[in-house]
């Protein structure tokens, strides 16, 4: 499932840093790499992994590539994480109704 890939990809701390930097807005690679303790090609690799996981997209602007967060990928991840109690109550509702119906049909 897509969220599982997203989770695995975000488990890398450097990659997470790159990802978090993109939350501030679209950036070219060199701006993302600035201040990180890894080389620019390494940052490009991280961006590729994020892109493959559907979390980041890129576009060309002249000779530069600009990276940004990909809304749909984030939505999916968010939907999975959102609402601890909301999820729990949904699971509860299903079980309560299922067991009630089972009892009624006996």
């Amino acid at each position: 499932m897509a969220y599982a890939t997203a989770l695995a990809v975000l488990a890398d701390p450097t990659r997470r840093k790159v990802f978090e930097r993109l939350r501030a807005g679209p950036r070219p690679v060199n701006a993302l790499a600035a201040g990180l303790p890894v080389s620019r090609p390494a940052v490009s690799q991280h961006l590729k992994a994020l892109k493959d996981a559907g979390l980041v997209e890129e576009r060309s602007e002249g000779v530069r590539r600009i990276y940004s967060l990909k809304r749909e990928g984030l939505m999916e991840l968010r939907a999975w994480l959102d609402s601890f109690w909301g999820d729990a109550l949904e699971a509860f509702k299903l079980e309560a109704e299922k067991s009630h119906n089972a009892r009624g049909s006996k």
Partner: protein, 159 residues
């Protein structure tokens, strides 16, 4: 300064097509049948989640190696209308008996065959302003408060 700013509660409701007594029973004694196991705080992998259905009873996680972790303790027991639990989980989602945010669950009959369940998680400010805000964000769902949980989950599921 001792001023403690109240952190807004998280309120969730659900309507269940089952009578109130049944809904209460499933929520409490039947916890093990519906609780999503990936919502655990204790030792993984979790083998069983259960609730001791009485005043002073615990919400327990039992891991596959038999480790028991207490997640919450019941402080008000009023079947089939209400139960209140002290939520003993800290902002890092680790069990912590010193924590006391509170989960208040009320059941109201909506006709003979349906129940409205309202869950209120509040008193986050008892955890401290920062930790309380983080827990509030986590249980309500939100971004980016859960990033650490992504990470934990990712690391766990990778191994």
């Amino acid at each position: 300064m001792n001023d403690v700013a109240v952190i807004a509660p998280v309120r969730k409701t659900v309507r269940v097509k089952a009578p109130i007594a049944h809904a209460f029973e499933v929520f409490t004694s039947g916890l093990t049948r519906w609780w999503p196991f990936d919502h655990g705080v204790g030792k993984k992998p979790i083998q069983k989640v259960l609730m001791e259905p009485r005043l002073g009873g615990r919400w327990l996680e039992i891991s596959e190696d038999g480790t028991q972790t207490s997640v919450a303790t019941i402080t008000h027991w009023e079947p089939p209308h209400r139960l209140v639990m002290i939520w003993q989980v800290n902002a890092q989602w680790k069990p912590d008996p010193a924590m006391k945010s509170e989960v208040d669950v009320r059941f109201a009959a909506d006709g003979p065959d349906a129940t409205r369940v309202e869950l209120l998680h509040h008193k986050f400010e008892t955890m401290g302003a920062e930790a309380g805000a983080s827990m509030r964000k986590d249980v309500d769902g939100g971004w980016p408060g859960l990033i650490e949980r992504f990470v934990q989950e990712a690391e766990r599921s990778k191994s």
